[in-house]
Symmetry: C2
Subunit: 390 residues, 2 copies
């Protein structure tokens, strides 16, 4: 979200302010000496940085801390509970959601609305979203918090470094610039929901979170995001992660993308419902999960076939990228019990032992993209705190 800092005295100070914020965020409360020990700067240098961050409303002193060491006791530093908050928003196919997350990662306010957005024009949907953002922003301000930015998760392709949804097939949107409809006086960023779900996994999903992983999620289509050394791989145009269009059987059924036998033709919601002989009126994943839990053999067989196709596509992905982990998120996390056995079987037979990743199910589930959006703003504050000082 931030531009790289220049290699000057000022740039170095900004980087060091960020190191202090990250040290306190990751290991706080910490004394000044504790921060100095962690980031490898002198106590005097750290004190000057800490004073600036306290003045900027980003750090607070919790009061004197009794230290066991000789010398005057240090006061413990913590991130401010009344400083900046990140506003996360999510446009789903059947819902809208907004939340405010503080520097501690705590959700301080939220609002949501159910509605079927398939084929609805963007304008009224964005108007409703703007109203939810207004509510959450006001609730945050009432608690003395300052919105530092808004990030929106959308189920579609977003051109890199823009606010434009190029294509969201399940909404029926094309070339919608969210910057036109969500003017708030704070920075607005827009990203694909699979990307933000993966970032949530990286930032708050595990302890310790893997730094190299493939995160697979599904709502109606199948999306994935690749994280390498703790950074999201976005692709040249911002369209990386289209796992749903990896060929599974090159002469398989025709896909809307123009290809044949894409993963989505075997493991997408529509394909699984069809294989299970079902028509969903509400959310397809709810129906599939309920029937599978009830022991419906046809549904379980359909999910097993989908799992095998996922395993084949992921085997190719693993051979290419050698990730530490594959994480099933979003709707897939609810269907995991019936997808995993066949998925794991294909993945195991098609990848070499030394490079085989762990296979896990996200703890965040369908909350991932919304939390990832809010946390992306919080991370921007930690990464360059001086830009967000009061």
């Amino acid at each position: 979200m931030n531009a790289p800092l220049p290699n000057t005295q000022q740039g170095m100070r900004r980087r060091n302010l960020s190191l202090v914020m990250h040290a306190v965020a990751g290991h706080g409360p910490l004394s000044r000496a504790g921060v100095a020990g962690r980031i490898g700067l002198t106590r005097a240098a750290v004190s000057s940085l800490v004073d600036e961050l306290i003045r900027g409303g980003l750090l607070v002193e919790l009061g004197r801390e009794q230290s066991g060491a000789v010398g005057r006791p240090g006061s413990a530093l913590s991130l401010s509970c009344r400083g900046p908050v990140g506003i996360g928003a999510e446009i789903g196919v059947d819902h809208l959601a907004v939340c405010a997350v503080d520097l501690h990662g705590k959700v301080r306010a939220r609002a949501s609305a159910q509605a079927d957005h398939r084929g609805r024009p963007a304008e009224p949907v964005l108007k409703e979203l703007a109203e939810l953002i207004r509510q959450v922003t006001e609730a945050a301000r009432a608690e003395g918090l300052r919105p530092a930015g808004i990030a929106v998760a959308v189920p579609g392709l977003v051109a890199r470094d823009t606010q434009t949804v190029v294509r969201a097939p399940n909404l029926g949107w094309e070339d919608i610039d969210l910057g036109d409809s969500l003017p708030y006086g704070v920075q607005l960023s827009v990203d694909n929901e699979a990307n933000l779900g993966a970032l949530a996994e990286l930032w708050i999903g595990g302890d310790p979170a893997p730094q190299d992983f493939v995160h697979v999620s599904a709502e109606i289509g199948i999306g994935a995001a690749v994280v390498v050394e703790g950074r999201l791989l976005r692709g040249t145009h911002g369209y990386a992660g289209e796992l749903g269009h990896v060929p599974v059987r090159p002469e398989g059924p025709a896909c809307a993308c123009g290809g044949r036998g894409c993963l989505e033709q075997y493991a997408g919601e529509e394909a699984v419902l069809r294989a299970a002989g079902l028509t969903a009126t509400g959310r397809g994943v709810d129906l599939l999960a309920a029937r599978a839990a009830d022991g419906d053999r046809t549904v379980r067989r359909a999910l097993s076939t989908a799992g095998a196709a996922l395993g084949i596509a992921l085997a190719g992905t693993v051979n290419l990228l050698d990730p530490q982990a594959v994480i099933l998120g979003g709707a897939l996390s609810r269907l995991a019990p019936w997808l995993l056995p066949s998925l794991e079987r294909e993945l195991t037979r098609r990848t070499a032992e030394p490079a085989r990743p762990t296979l896990t199910v996200s703890r965040l589930g369908s909350e991932g993209p919304l939390l990832g959006a809010a946390h992306s703003v919080v991370r921007a504050v930690l990464d360059d705190p001086s830009s967000y000082a009061a």
Copy 2:
């Protein structure tokens, strides 16, 4: 190759020394003012950095340069032709090669030997390689150059951040530590040949070189390397890029890896020779290229089938990674005329237009890995020059 530099005064100076070296390497000869303009530091700061680099034998002054601007003319700075050199080495299935590349990227010495290494134990092969390295090193020293490090390209998996060849199936090697056999008193690094071929592409392959690409090469097996934002994606264990084991037809022929229908079963040298009804006594690629050039229909058909399989595997790769370019290198660059039509057809029908990458053939061909190895040492010098000052 270098550890990240700390965020201190000394770390900042080392980073700025590197900025100066890269500015002169990319745009030299340059005056001090020219360098200052490019890297955004003051003329005084740059002069102090330049003086240190001249003292270290890394930069030279070419003499006074007539500038059009008012003020005293600046002297033009250039990289030293008598400074450090990178020693690159390559262990091929049927050859050994070593070269020395100076800071300008010029090959200053080279040596090579042909031999069939299939099934030969590592020890005598490495002994021959050590002798070639000695010859090239002595030739470089005779020209006043200083070897700054040795990098070795191997046709196999190398565990990340080690000197160990974990598995090189076409040599028959397992768990060979090259550090035991190549002791030279300078830093030794070992890497997979596909990785070094891709890095060569990044550093010297094009003008401007793409920063996000997939580089596909072949010797006996099929290897690939993924470069993202100018950095090689190595994978958690160092095994990324195993394109040869991406499933093309999940129920296809059994592969030595334990899977079925892997790309190597359709586009690997052995599979193509078999489909063409040929048995190679020498290099398979030479035979295939000669027959295809002669218009042999069976060989051309076999190469077309291989190209289609490559296109299917690469379509999945492109959907996942959204690279700017796909580059065919190594032996594939020689076979490109007969692979490309079917490859491009599959890639086009299976990828969406806005994310479709350019498809090119490497100019470096089979020289890529050797040059990449030598240049990896040169880049280490540019990235942290103070560690390599005389």
